[in-house]
């Protein structure tokens, strides 16, 4: 209990350190990052391109959690459930109904929005650790729900479903992996821009007002229950779209790919990237994808322990995650410019 409380308290502290202005990158930095993401696949092998695609997909899922926790102050350990619903929506639509992969994304988004919005209703009565526990229950239930007998015809039960990887359209001369990378990149950038717009808007201010003080938000006319469930809905929708992209990239969905471990990884990614700092999402995603591999490289037998130590180092040295590193970098650059 006390450990859980500490996690939550730490989260709050991290939230507290993020004013709204600092939620995004400057134009210059954004363009450099964008250029790097655009050019990179030309120089690397297909497997690396696939990994970069997964990086973008997990980044999107971490971004979704960041909107929920950094924006509206609600915790969720149930993101894997939304991710699973998105992935299965795409898989079922593609394999059973022959729907175009690109079309399954908005459908998955709408389905997950409804799911998240509905889940948000009972979650309204809970906050902090208790909300985290309720979402934890959702994450543990999801793989079992997907294995249910009467759904087996659609979900493929324990076996899961195989998804066909799409070819590049219009006869473009690129590999399937490269096409999927660019497709994912476009989707992720579009959603990132929408998310930034949302958090800077009247709705985003309502989210943050609720995060900071519910009673005062309500006195200003903010419908606290509505905006809390909306935040859940938006977060679930984005996570679901990430799940859809994930299903297409991995070409396979199975219940046990979407366990609580995935939800915890996403939570970890958010903390490492900096709670409430949207660009940190991609850094957090990089951490949860690559650091376990690095740990395995250091010691095969004790990879979990090595990962733990690395995680501990990050939390100890930069408790506010990548955002803190970015601020330090900015200050340093400022000093250099002065000299």
């Amino acid at each position: 209990m006390s450990a859980a409380e500490e996690v939550v308290a730490e989260g709050h502290q991290a939230v507290a350190a993020v004013p709204k202005r600092g939620m995004t990158l400057g134009t210059g930095t954004s363009l450099v990052v964008l250029a790097a993401l655009l050019i990179m696949p030309i120089f690397v092998k297909n497997f690396i391109i696939f990994q970069m695609t997964m990086l973008l997909i997990y980044g999107l899922a971490v971004l979704a959690l960041n909107i929920l926790t950094g924006g509206s102050g609600q915790f969720s350990l149930g993101q894997s459930a939304f991710y699973a619903v998105g992935a299965y929506t795409t898989a079922v639509l593609m394999e059973h109904f022959n729907v175009n992969y690109a079309l399954t994304l908005p459908i998955a988004g709408v389905v997950c929005f409804a799911f998240g919005f509905l889940f948000g209703q009972p979650a309204l009565r809970l906050s902090g650790v208790y909300l985290a526990l309720a979402t934890f229950a959702l994450a543990t239930a999801m793989p079992q729900l997907l294995k249910l007998n009467f759904l087996e015809h659609w979900t493929g039960g324990v076996q899961g479903l195989v998804v066909t990887k799409p070819d590049a359209p219009f006869g473009l001369p690129m590999s399937q992996d490269m096409w999927l990378y660019y497709f994912t990149l476009v989707v992720v950038i579009a959603i990132y821009i929408f998310a930034v717009n949302l958090l800077r808007s009247r709705s985003g201010r309502a989210f943050m007002a609720i995060r900071d003080n519910e009673i005062a938000a309500s006195a200003m006319g903010v419908d606290v229950a509505l905006y809390k469930t909306l935040a859940f809905g938006v977060s679930a929708a984005i996570t679901g779209i990430a799940g859809s992209l994930g299903a297409i990239a991995v070409q396979f969905v199975a219940p046990d790919s979407y366990t609580i471990t995935l939800a915890i990884s996403l939570f970890l990614g958010m903390v490492v990237g900096g709670v409430g700092w949207l660009p940190g999402s991609i850094v957090g995603a990089a951490f949860i994808i690559f650091v376990p591999n690095i740990a395995e490289g250091i010691s095969k037998g004790l990879s979990g322990a090595v990962f733990g130590v690395l995680l501990f180092l990050v939390i100890y040295l930069v408790p506010h995650g990548a955002r803190q590193v970015a601020i330090l970098g900015q200050k340093l650059a400022g000093k250099l410019r002065k000299n």
């Binding site: 939230v15 709204k20 900071d212 006195a219 200003m220 006319g221």
Partner: protein
């Protein structure tokens, strides 16, 4: 002759009618009635536990009265949820400052306009033309209020780092951003020093004159209430003790007894 006295004959802007609040056997308010007229500054006084804050929370719909009614421009507010009080023109500040600590001054005041604007998450995400127009209007209004309350220098500062007195002004700015007809101020002088209280009194009067507002002032600080209120209601043990001009209430034997104890004891 103040505006408030002239308006005395017209129907009240806010009417508190026989309001009682019972918390599990404890009577926090017992049949309290009074009227507020347009342009008035009404001071609500009383010793600790008199029921001032309870009444205040009934007005902002955090508590539901056990009986009685509260009418705003003739219509009951008791069927409204708390978040639909701002839209009928009731704005408030809080006893110990309830700002959004991680937001800038500007964003705090922008949230104040929430009840006067509309949007939906899809239009907001896409930043549609009508959203951009509405944001421009909001920013104009917020800048006007910040200038009015001399807060422009700190517009982009996160509020948690500001001095307490400044935070109180930000809270006032946030309340004004909703264009309230009635401003409910819960102990605005709390935590301020002598000089700051004097400045605050001036400011409240100025807001009433410039922005045609009606003010309900719940306050411990007698000096402030007596110097700026047109009308004073005194509560004790959940009941109305006295009502009238500051001079009348100050001279009322029951009020003196409530504050200083009776001579017989």
């Amino acid at each position: 002759m103040t505006q408030a006295q002239l308006a005395q004959g017209s129907p009240p802007l806010l009417a508190v009618r026989d309001v009682s609040v019972v918390f599990g056997g404890i009577i926090a308010l017992n049949g309290v009635s009074f009227d507020m007229h347009k342009g008035q500054i009404l001071g609500l006084i009383g010793p600790n536990g008199a029921g001032k804050t309870t009444l205040f929370n009934c007005l902002s719909r955090l508590y539901q009265p056990s009986s009685g009614d509260i009418l705003m421009e003739g219509a009951s507010i008791l069927t409204r949820p708390p978040h639909r009080i701002a839209e009928i023109g009731i704005g408030r500040t809080f006893q110990n400052v309830a700002l959004f600590p991680n937001l800038t001054v500007m964003d705090n005041v922008r949230v104040g306009t929430h009840a006067r604007t509309s949007s939906d998450i899809i239009s907001d995400s896409l930043r549609l033309a009508w959203i951009r127009r509405s944001e421009t209007d909001v920013n104009k209004k917020v800048h006007e209020i910040l200038a009015y309350l001399d807060l422009e220098d700190v517009a982009h500062t996160v509020v948690s780092g500001l001095p307490f007195g400044t935070q109180k002004r930000v809270e006032l700015a946030r309340a004004l951003a909703a264009d309230p007809k009635i401003l409910l101020l819960d102990e605005p002088a709390g935590g301020l020093n002598h000089e700051e209280v004097y400045v605050l009194g001036d400011l409240i009067r100025r807001i009433r004159e410039d922005r045609h507002m009606t003010v309900l002032l719940v306050e411990h600080h007698m000096g402030l209430v007596m110097s700026i209120a047109d009308h004073v209601v005194a509560l004790n043990f959940g009941k109305k003790l006295a009502e009238g001009t500051p001079a009348q209430v100050q001279a009322d034997p029951d009020v003196i007894k409530a504050y200083l104890g009776s001579k017989d004891q």
